[in-house]
């Protein structure tokens, strides 16, 4: 079947989708967006977290057909998404967002690959780099999407709020302390910017 939906602010069409296929599979294998990671396929690990109509969900548990006509934001579009939110409080014109080609080629590369400097990063992405919250990196995309959504909802989170918001994201390197540091840092910077 064919599925039409919005990905990172741009309309997309996926063809030859099997009826039992997950949104995660469509994103990775049909649209070439491998940022959302495939690990447990049962909603335990949060590596595949995306926003569906603004709400964080495990894309492995959303049937592809269920996203028809709906809006998805993936980690590849997070930098643009956060920028739009900061500048305009969202995308009013409908002309913003990230093209599929840009999203497919998206990487945290800037003029300096170690610090991300010069690259187009969302504040939460920059904070993860600065706090050293990325080890193997597999859980990072899901954590970024979940953390960004929490900071949008709750600009001054307590440690308990952060733990709760990230409780559906597993890090097998067990780098939770620096992940906490990163989210605290992003929240503090967000507070300074206002």
């Amino acid at each position: 079947m064919r599925v039409n939906f919005t990905v990172n602010g741009r309309p997309q069409e996926a063809d030859d989708v099997w009826e039992g296929e997950s949104l995660l599979y469509v994103l990775r294998e049909r649209l070439g967006l491998p940022g959302s990671k495939n690990a447990c396929e049962q909603g335990e690990c949060g590596s595949c977290t995306v926003r569906l109509d603004g709400v964080p969900v495990c894309s492995c548990l959303v049937a592809a057909g269920q996203v028809e006509g709906r809006e998805v934001v993936t980690v590849e579009g997070l930098a643009d998404f956060a920028k739009q939110r900061a500048e305009h409080g969202g995308c009013a014109s409908g002309a913003c967002g990230t093209s599929l080609q840009d999203a497919q080629q998206w990487a945290a590369r800037g003029t300096d690959s170690q610090t991300g400097e010069g690259g187009e990063l969302s504040p939460v992405q920059q904070a993860f780099i600065d706090a050293g919250a990325v080890q193997c990196g597999f859980c990072t995309p899901g954590l970024l999407v979940a953390a960004d959504e929490m900071l949008e909802r709750n600009p001054n989170p307590t440690d308990a709020d952060i733990r709760e918001a990230l409780s559906g994201n597993l890090c097998r390197c067990t780098g939770y302390e620096t992940i906490m540091d990163a989210v605290r840092l992003a929240a503090a910077r967000q507070g300074e910017a206002v």
Partner: protein, 299 residues
Amino acid sequence: MDFLRPASWEEALAAKAEHPTAVPIAGGTDVMVEINFDHRRPEYLLDLNRVGDLEEWEVGEESVRLGASVPYTKIMENLRGELPGLALASHTVASPQIRNRGGVGGNLGTASPAGDAHPALLAAGAEVEAESVRGSRLIPIDEFYTGVKRNALAADELIRAVHIKKADGPQQYSKVGTRNAMVIAVCAFGLALHPETRTVRTGIGSAAPTPVRAKAAEEFLNAALEEGGFWDNGKIVTPSVAKQFADLCAAACNPIDDVRGTASYRRHAVGVMARRTLTWTWESYRGTARAAFEKGGAA
């Protein structure tokens, strides 16, 4: 596989009547796991996400009519006052991502003995609104669970809503697992005090083939509270009464040994949770009863 996408409730009922083997999918947090792991290959998937009124709820005089797909997150955020037991239970479901998608309709449809909502529904008192093209009926929650992952629905029926009694007293919910997030209950316990009828209701999860009430324990406690005048004098529940209640709750279990825990552990833990939730709710009842009494005295 066919993907059916009804745009309205009527269309959904028609589709289910035409294809009784169709598997309804709303949050997908159970169904998609089975499909991803190839444990299930339904001929038809019946997507309910486009049926908007399944995500709505109405607070009535005596009960809340909760749409089958209202996500757990919304229950926690909006219905804590009316449905405190279910709100607590909702908060123990998996993770934020799962609570954003999953709802009580799915818990009932799957009818796993470990479903987190069941003990809260049993304790509060509830009816399941099931409908087919033949008509609509309300199934009392006590008659809904018929076996391990089996329920009272007919092949052509869909769950539209759950009617849950609004709390008329304190409610509590307790769940045993290895950590706070992402656990399937080893066992769970819900308790609701109903001061208006001077009764106590319970719900036990994951400690029998189906979610069950501890009816003998309820009857014992109802009689003991009445006999001691506890509802009026606001005294603490006698430790011997609490212990007897806990023992009877443990006796209501019919658990198995499995990877999550042994049968004897489950029985023990249910007893502990029964005593604790009774203490918590009764303390809360005494607090509010005293406040009401003092307020009445001052006026």
